[in-house]
C-alpha cells in the first residue's frame, strides 16, 4: 500500500476545519514533497452542501501558485463526508478525472477523506484514484 506521511497536528487541523463546516462539506489541499505533508491549506467550499464541495477557482489557483513558490508540490486533496463513510463516492471518482476521460487530473495526488458520521470519532483515510481504480493509501501520522 502506498503511503502518505502527515504530521498529527496537521491531521487535527484538517479535522477541525471539517468539523467547523459541518453539516456541509469542507475541503483543502496538502502540500509537500516525497509523500510527506509539509503544509495544510484549509479552503473554502464555493458550493457548500452536505454532499458536495467545489473549491473556489480563484482560491484554488492562488494556493497552487503558493505551493509552487514554496518549492512544494500538491500531494493531497482533502474533503469531508459529513454523513457518509471515508471512501470516495461516485462524484469523487468522476471529478478525479479529466471530463470524459480516464486521465487523472492530478496524477499522484492522494485524496484524503474525513468521515464525520461519528462526530466524536472522525475517520480519516487516503486513496489514490487513477487508471479507473480506487486504492487505499496508508496515512502515517507522526
Amino acid at each position: 500500500m502506498a503511503l502518505l506521511r502527515i504530521p498529527a497536528e496537521d491531521v487535527r487541523k484538517i479535522i477541525d476545519h471539517c468539523k467547523a463546516a459541518y453539516p456541509d462539506e469542507a475541503c483543502g489541499m496538502l502540500a509537500g514533497l516525497d509523500g510527506s505533508v509539509k503544509k495544510v491549506y484549509c479552503m473554502k467550499n464555493a458550493m457548500p452542501g452536505p454532499v458536495y464541495y467545489e473549491m473556489d477557482p480563484e482560491e484554488q489557483f492562488r494556493v497552487m501558485k503558493d505551493i509552487r513558490a514554496a518549492g512544494l508540490e500538491l500531494i493531497g486533496i482533502f474533503h469531508s463526508h459529513p454523513s457518509s463513510p471515508a471512501h470516495p463516492s461516485a462524484t469523487d471518482v468522476e471529478r478525479a478525472y479529466w471530463p470524459g476521460t480516464l486521465y487523472p487530473n492530478y496524477p499522484g495526488v492522494v485524496y484524503v477523506i474525513v468521515s464525520l458520521m461519528d462526530m466524536s470519532r472522525p475517520v480519516v483515510k487516503g486513496y489514490s484514484i487513477e487508471q479507473g481504480s480506487v486504492n487505499e493509501v496508508e496515512l502515517l501520522s507522526e
Partner: protein, 97 residues
C-alpha cells in the same frame, strides 16, 4: 500576438509532453481554434458546444475568465493562459436517508 498556454498533465499527451505551448491568439475562443489546429483533440477536451467545459478553469494571468468575458476574453502579447482542472467531489448521497 503570442500567448503562452500552460498545459495540465492530463492534456500533455496531446502536446507530446510539452507543459507550455505558444499560440498567436487574440481571444480565448481563437486560442481554442489554434490549439485544435496544432494539437488535434484539444478542442473536444476543453470545450463543448463552443463553451469551456464545466470543471475546467481557464485563467488569463491570474484572472478566471468566468469573471472576464468568458470565451471572448481578449488576450494580449505576453499573456499566460493557465488551464487547470477544477477540484470538486462529494459524499455518498445514499447514506443521507
Amino acid at each position: 500576438m503570442p500567448v503562452k498556454v500552460r498545459i495540465p498533465t492530463p492534456l500533455q499527451k496531446l502536446t507530446d509532453g510539452r507543459t507550455e505551448v505558444e499560440v498567436d491568439a487574440s481571444t480565448v475562443h481563437e486560442m481554442l481554434d489554434l490549439l485544435e489546429r496544432d494539437y488535434p483533440g484539444m478542442r473536444e477536451r476543453l470545450s463543448e458546444g463552443g463553451k469551456i467545459r464545466r470543471f475546467i478553469n481557464i485563467y488569463v494571468n491570474d484572472e478566471d475568465i468566468r469573471f472576464m468575458n468568458k470565451e471572448e476574453t481578449r488576450l494580449k502579447d505576453g499573456d499566460t493562459v493557465s488551464i487547470v482542472p477544477a477540484i470538486a467531489g462529494g459524499g455518498w448521497t445514499a447514506c443521507l436517508s
